[in-house]
């Protein structure tokens, strides 16, 4: 499988993401934001974590106008699979490829720790290898992860099984980590080809670093 990983000034998770997908046997290309096209054999496009353009104005607001983003919009409209992680989630929201918006965490802290997540829907490519209500432990590291969507938008997400993951506490009970509406940690679009989450599955690949669960998540993309 061929994975393309976008790189903006300030992106800092592109090589971790490359490592993760190479570990799964994929061929990974890093694509600089000034490019105007994606490799034509791209099976999965990842917008990785980091602080593109220093989070100036709003997280993801400036990256969405990078040269490569026209190609991303076109790829998305043709049903191409996209995964946004952390800053990638913020960029997809700013680009209008996913509904809602990201606010500063409610307690205003930068949160960096391993967090249990509950699988809400596995009726999609990304989480197909996991069970509904299964708990995965994945690190978060963000300042702007307070997901906002209005009530009508939330109803749509629930109705269309677009909520992928919710934050939990150590006892696997749902928990509001950062102010996010409905404890949402990850969503997808209605067509289920664009996925995004605030936690970093690419940082959960080694037992010695606290969790292997990231592999289980990313593996979903290997099944076509």
């Amino acid at each position: 499988m061929n994975v393309s990983v976008l790189q903006f000034p300030g992106t800092n998770c592109e090589y971790d993401t490359q490592y993760a997908f190479e570990k799964l046997g994929c061929t990974v290309s890093i694509i600089w934001h000034k490019e105007t096209s994606l490799p034509s054999n791209t099976d999965l496009l990842v917008i990785p974590g980091g602080f593109s353009y220093g989070d100036y104005l709003r997280s993801g607001a400036i990256a969405r106008f990078a040269s490569i983003m026209d190609a991303v919009q076109e790829y998305a409209s043709k049903g191409g699979k996209i995964l946004g992680i952390c800053n990638g989630f913020q960029i997809l929201l700013e680009a209008g490829l996913l509904p809602g918006a990201m606010k500063r965490n409610d307690k205003l802290h930068f949160i960096s720790k391993i967090v249990p997540l509950k699988v809400v829907s596995n009726n999609n490519t990304f989480l197909q290898k996991l069970d509904v209500n299964e708990i995965v432990k994945i690190p978060v590291a963000h300042h702007d992860g307070n997901y906002y969507i209005d009530d009508a938008g939330l109803e749509d997400l629930i109705k269309n099984e677009q909520i992928l993951l919710r934050y939990c506490d150590e006892n696997s009970q749902e928990f509001n980590l950062n102010g996010a509406v409905s404890n949402i940690a990850g969503i997808c679009n209605k067509e289920k080809n664009i996925f995004a989450l605030m936690p970093h599955p690419e940082r959960a690949l080694e037992e010695i670093l606290g969790s292997l669960d990231g592999l289980k998540m990313l593996e979903g993309f290997l099944n076509k």
Partner: protein, 81 residues
């Protein structure tokens, strides 16, 4: 010509920074006088424009496209000739 754009969270979207600052002001002894605190940002631009109406149209376009995220934010524009 100059444009001053004020951007803030919409009514109904919880302003956590405003809330935290309000709480700090309360603690500092301003509890009786402060009713509400909202935090936003201000963008000041020098414009190359001859006509205020045209300038406002262009700046509105900028707000819709980039300067504000209208899912959660409102904006107001002041043009100073």
């Amino acid at each position: 010509m100059k444009a001053i754009v004020n951007i803030g969270l919409k009514k109904g979207v919880l302003d956590d920074q405003g809330k935290a600052t309000h709480h700090a002001l309360d603690t500092l002894g301003f509890k009786d006088i402060v009713k509400d605190v909202r935090i936003g940002k201000q963008i000041i631009m020098e414009l190359n424009a001859s006509n205020e109406d045209d300038a406002k149209v262009e700046v509105t376009n900028m707000c819709e496209k980039l300067l504000a995220n209208t899912v959660i934010e409102d904006y107001s524009i002041q043009i100073i000739g």
